[in-house]
Chain length 101, copies 2
């Protein structure tokens, strides 16, 4: 089993997925529009969106025949708290090292 922040980091570890996320910053978009301009086909985009969805970085909502994707705050919050915790613990360890000398 993979923790969420791991899934989020994996999801961010691909340029195409990052491009998708960047596009979604300006607001929700249907899959077709998301795929436009990208150097990959629409099905590829669908597959990336699935990964992003599992990582809770995007949410989707069907509207008629279109399916709108938007950024999901949950994934970003989780990712951020992981990085913060990570760095805090590193500083903690560093301080401890200094004092022990």
């Amino acid at each position: 089993m993979k923790t969420y922040h791991q899934q989020q980091l994996d999801a961010f570890g691909d340029v195409t997925r990052r491009a998708l996320l960047e596009r979604l910053r300006s607001g929700p978009l249907p899959v077709g529009e998301l795929a436009e301009g990208l150097p990959v086909t629409r099905p590829a985009v669908s597959q990336h969106l699935r990964v992003l969805k599992h990582a809770q970085l995007v949410r989707d909502e069907a509207r008629g025949t279109r399916r709108y994707y938007r950024l999901d705050p949950r994934g970003f919050a989780s990712l951020r708290s992981y990085l913060d915790r990570f760095w805090d613990e590193a500083l903690e360890a560093f301080k401890a090292k200094v004092e022990e000398k």
Copy 2:
């Protein structure tokens, strides 16, 4: 050419590299010790360290025959500011959308 935050996200997009970074939270370590316990060989670790170094997530320092690796604040700061900026812009866009209605 790749921007730094892209390199950092790529670097974080691998479990072994994340494991290395987590080990380094408790302080600097030589390559041999870093490799111990991991399910991969030492050369593999060296290669991962190279990626992490280019992403400015670790620094290295030779001491005798050993080479100590430690976390590098630069990469983390850069990554954090990217994520913050990313999310800020998303909120900005969201606000603008609401007001325009």
